[in-house]
């Protein structure tokens, strides 16, 4: 809607008629001239009349438009949006404030960090509201937190609420917060409605909008509202951040007394820089690796881990300090293990070769300790703490035993099954964790018994570091073999015997793995126990199983952390815990179907959490911030309208710009300057066109090569 501060000048629009009047006057003053070559003139006019008419029309339009625009500009027009125009000065407004509460808001920017800037900007917006206006407040984190869920006329309360908030330790999602704000403003009636988002300009919180492109109802709900959105991007225009995002032990199992390495992946955003990545164990730096961080790339650094005694250690990986210090440290708990315990289920004769292969020297220190139990004695307690469980011709098992084994796998254990003559294919039906079930067991023809074992999946962690004795050929004699039924969707064949018979299946189940061999652990079905591969494969399974299924080095902060997923079984029901700040934290008991678990729901601080026993304490688990938030790549202000699909979206880069845009929105925008610019463009176009039409072209006399004697030469010869 237009309003004019100086409407008298609108009469000046009549000046737009001047070009037309001049044209008509000129028509009346036309002279008559006798001319000799009218024939040629007519010919040329016929050819050029369309062009001349178009040029004249265009010139007339330009001149008329120029005069109109000048008249409008002097009338001092002000443009008001439809909403503002309708209710200008007559309506109260409801304002929803959405604060980005992700930890990237702690980015240090000058004297204050971005969060403090956002608080100040939000407070300024509220200060600018009048009596009768209302405010609601939402924090955009991983989940939306309604601080003032409904619009409140108590502006002081809103100011206090904003000042009382702190930046969170998680990531953020703007879209759910906007939807919550829209819901809160839905019942505003005829009030003007504004949503103000204060964020650091990071692209990550806006990704939801891109993913929701096809979710038409939600998108329409957001874009179709008659609400004005103000987004203030308060972060640095080109933010820089370096943060460790991922660690990996190499090899996966940290063994006591043995050196190992920690592979650290460091994400860097910003121009290239150099620095050092360091590893601290129990607060003391034990290793440091220099690194060059490329622009917007992930860099890998390897940190040596010195030999450690058995136990648990609080560790930290640190990157060089930067403007966002919150994510510079990654907390870990290292647990070097002295001995590995494996459980073998089966009779002494069935497990004979396996026991000898895993622990030939019986109780030698540092070796794998194998404990054999009879198939009828399988309980959850027997399996607890085992790095790996082998079943040697142990099927059929009781239902309780199968459930205990499947729970063991689900909780991160590795179960390796060797078939045998005790079980028929039907005896495997009750198992749900198997990669494939036998359909039949058949004798192998004498001609086909000699089989070469082939590795099908070379990148499997089970065989990544497998080394066969030099000079050995991976050949086994197979007298009986399993004919497999349809494999489970997650099943992966690891080894094959002969052309295409699967010799070893693998399947991920819960946090653990199930392996199923195609032959027995003794010599009844073949010569596998006597082959040179038998010992290295079994050792590899135990070592990898112990590393894979154990407690994680660290976990990401979130709600609902189950204690048994974080710590060794002996600590799974420990109830006295202290946070990184020394405060006590207590897990909650949760009952899920037939199981009870202890879990933490309110942990917010990153760091190492300790299991306390009186004055003693031991590292329990390490919590870290969501590392996706470390990617501080900024969103382009010009892209936000396209990403969000919001029609009435104003993007400001700082508080002053925001206030100016609010002013323009609420009181209208003067258009004089824009119109004067338009007039300048029109005048330039008019000058160019008029010059083009009236330009002097060379006279034919000047172009024609003619001698004084009248001889005219052709242009080519001239």
């Amino acid at each position: 809607m237009w309003t004019f501060l100086n409407p008298l000048f609108l009469w000046g629009a009549a000046a737009a008629l001047i070009p037309l009047v001049l044209h008509l006057l000129r028509q009346r003053r036309i002279v008559r001239m006798r001319f000799s070559s009218v024939r040629l003139l007519r010919l040329v006019q016929k050819k050029s009349s369309r062009r001349i008419r178009m040029e004249n029309l265009l010139l007339w339009l330009l001149r008329t438009a120029l005069l109109l625009v000048l008249a409008l500009a002097f009338a001092l027009p002000v443009w008001r949006s439809e909403a503002a125009g309708r209710w200008l000065g007559a309506s109260h407004r409801d304002v929803a404030v959405v604060l980005d509460a992700s930890y990237s808001m702690r980015y240090a920017s000058g004297q204050r960090n971005v969060w403090e800037e956002a608080q100040a900007a939000a407070a300024t917006v509220i200060e600018g509201l009048g009596k009768g206006d209302r405010v609601c407040l939402f924090l955009a984190g991983d989940d939306t937190t309604p601080v003032l869920a409904q619009p409140s006329g108590d502006l002081e309360l809103a100011m206090t609420a904003i000042r009382g908030q702190q930046a969170g330790t998680g990531s953020s999602r703007i879209r759910p917060a906007l939807l919550a704000a829209l819901t809160a403003l839905a019942d505003s009636g005829y009030r003007e409605r504004e949503v103000h988002v204060f964020t650091d300009g990071q692209a990550l919180p806006w990704q939801d909008f891109l993913q929701a492109t096809n979710e038409t109802p939600d998108r329409t709900a957001l874009a179709g509202e008659d609400i004005t959105f103000f987004v203030t991007l308060l972060g640095a225009p080109t933010p820089q951040n370096t943060a460790p995002i991922e660690v990996e032990m190499v090899p996966p199992l940290l063994r006591a007394g043995a050196p190992s390495r920690l592979l650290v992946r460091v994400a860097h955003r910003g121009p290239p820089r150099t620095g050092a990545v360091s590893l601290l164990i129990n607060g003391r730096e034990v290793s440091r690796a220099p690194a060059a961080f490329d622009e917007d790339r992930v860099t890998e650094a390897t940190l040596p881990v010195p030999p450690l005694e058995p136990g648990a250690y609080a560790a930290e990986v640190r990157t060089p300090p930067d403007a966002l210090e919150t994510d510079d440290t990654l907390y870990l708990v290292l647990r070097p293990r002295a001995r590995l315990e494996a459980v073998c289920i089966g009779s002494a004769s069935d497990a004979f070769f396996l026991l000898k292969a895993l622990n030939p020297a019986e109780d030698a220190p540092g070796a794998i300790q194998v404990r054999r139990i009879e198939p009828g004695a399988v309980t959850a307690a027997e399996l607890r703490g085992a790095a790996c469980v082998f079943c040697c011709n142990a099927v059929p098992l009781s239902g309780q035993a199968v459930l205990a084994l499947e729970d063991y796998v689900r909780d991160g254990g590795v179960l390796a099954l060797f078939p045998g003559d005790r079980a028929a294919p039907a005896d495997y039906d009750m198992w749900s964790c198997l990669p494939a079930k036998p359909a039949a067991i058949r004798d192998v023809a004498a001609a086909n018994r000699s089989r070469t074992i082939r590795l099908l999946k070379t990148d499997s962690p089970f065989f990544a570091s497998l080394r066969l004795p030099p000079g050995t050929a991976p050949v086994v004699q197979m007298r009986r073999a399993i004919q497999w039924g349809p494999p489970a969707p997650e099943a992966v064949p690891l080894l094959a015997s002969g052309a295409d018979d699967v010799f070893l299946w693998q399947r991920s189940f819960g946090r653990g793995q199930t392996l199923f061999f195609g032959t027995t652990a003794d010599r009844s079905w073949g010569s596998f126990p006597l082959s040179p591969m038998f010992v290295p494969i079994l050792h590899q399974i135990v070592l990898t199983g112990a590393g894979l299924g154990r407690e994680p080095l660290h976990v990401v902060l979130r709600d609902g952390l189950a204690l048994r997923d974080l710590v060794p079984p002996e600590l799974a029901e420990h109830l006295a815990w202290r946070g990184p700040d020394g405060q006590d934290v207590a897990p909650q008991l949760l009952r899920e179907e037939d199981r009870t678990t202890w879990r933490f729901d309110e942990l917010r601080a990153p760091g190492v959490y300790w299991a306390a026993r009186g004055e003693e304490r031991a590292p329990g688990f390490a919590l870290n911030l969501d590392r996706r938030e470390a990617d501080v790549r900024p969103v382009a202000a010009t892209e936000l309208p396209k990403w969000t699909g919001l029609r009435r979206l104003h993007v400001a880069m700082d508080r002053d710009e925001l206030l100016r845009k609010i002013e323009e929105h609420r009181r209208g925008r003067p258009m004089t300057e824009a119109l004067l610019w338009l007039a300048l463009v029109l005048a330039t176009a008019e000058v160019i066109l008029a010059n083009r039409m009236g330009r002097k072209t060379a006279l034919l006399t000047e172009q024609m090569p003619r001698l004084l004697s009248g001889r005219v030469r052709s242009r080519a010869t001239a």
Partner: protein, 299 residues
């Protein structure tokens, strides 16, 4: 008021033109002995060829040297030299009255014709006149006396431009009426149908006439320099068009250049001496430059 040649040329100009001559580039058939080559063989010093002796031939024309060497009778033949007959054909159509300055195209043509005629008669050659528009309005035979030239120029002086034109057919008639080889000098603005006029010119060449074409134009016709929109009225047909000359100038010049080229190119191909004469140039300067160049090229 002066009449005849004195009307068109002042004494200084006459003096300058007195030392000049108009050469024909081809053999011409004249009645008097003169400086121009004749198709007839006759008495002169320039050897032409031999022919066998026929009874009745004058024995003094026998080539005795050939007879002595070959015992055969041959007659020596010599190039005959004769006088030049020049016909001035002046266009008096209405368009020739156009002027953007002081001198109309017709006036310019008359002055140029007077200069050419004077040079011709001064060289003891004959000059005649065809004054035409849509028809032959006046004509005089070719004679080599100053009184004849004076009468001819009076005729030109008496007529004014002011009729429609049909140049092509008139030129055909002129070509038919000139029986012996001559030099035809044409003065016209040629604002007519170019292909037809070219055919008429070809007719002259077919009759073995030497042709000089003075294409007389006003500078305003060539450049269309007018600034103001105007209603242009054709001087011959009365057709009127409203036009903005500034907007049309560029296209007009292109069209006019093509129009000139329509005449220039065929003339070069037919060996017609095509000259563009502008009315803003002094007649005597132009005529002397032309005659000098023609004399140089005829050698």
């Amino acid at each position: 008021m002066a009449e005849g040649i004195a009307h068109f040329l002042n004494p200084q100009e006459l003096q300058r033109f007195g030392r000049m001559a108009l050469e024909s580039r081809y053999v011409v058939e004249g009645s008097l002995s003169g400086r121009h080559r004749s198709p007839a063989r006759g008495a002169s010093t320039e050897f032409a060829d031999h022919r066998a002796y026929m009874p009745g031939d004058d024995p003094k024309r026998l080539d005795w040297k050939v007879l002595g060497r070959t015992d055969r009778y041959y007659i020596r033949r010599y190039q005959d030299e004769t006088n030049l007959r020049v016909y001035l054909a002046v266009d008096r159509s209405a368009s020739m009255a156009y002027t953007s300055g002081t001198l109309s195209k017709y006036d310019y043509a008359c002055r140029l014709a007077a200069a050419i005629g004077y040079v011709v008669v001064k060289a003891r050659d004959s000059v005649g006149l065809y004054l035409y528009s849509s028809q032959i309005d006046a004509q005089t035979g070719a004679k080599n006396s100053f009184s004849h030239l004076n009468n001819t120029l009076r005729l030109l002086q008496r007529y004014t431009p002011g009729s429609t034109t049909d140049t092509a057919s008139t030129l055909h008639r002129i070509a038919d009426s000139v029986h012996r080889r001559a030099l035809i000098v044409l003065f016209s603005d040629l604002l007519d149908d170019p292909p037809a006029i070219i055919k008429a010119l070809a007719h002259f060449r077919k009759e073995h006439h030497d042709v000089i074409l003075f294409h007389i134009l006003d500078p305003a016709e060539i450049d269309l320099p007018f600034k103001q929109a105007a209603e242009f009225e054709d001087m011959e047909t009365g057709e009127k068009i409203l036009a903005d000359p500034r907007a049309l100038a560029e296209e007009y010049r292109k069209a006019f250049a093509a129009f000139l080229e329509e005449y220039r190119k065929p003339c070069v191909e037919m060996n017609i001496d095509y000259r563009l004469a502008r009315t803003d140039e002094p007649v005597d300067l132009f005529a002397r430059a032309y005659l000098e160049e023609r004399r140089r090229l005829s050698r």
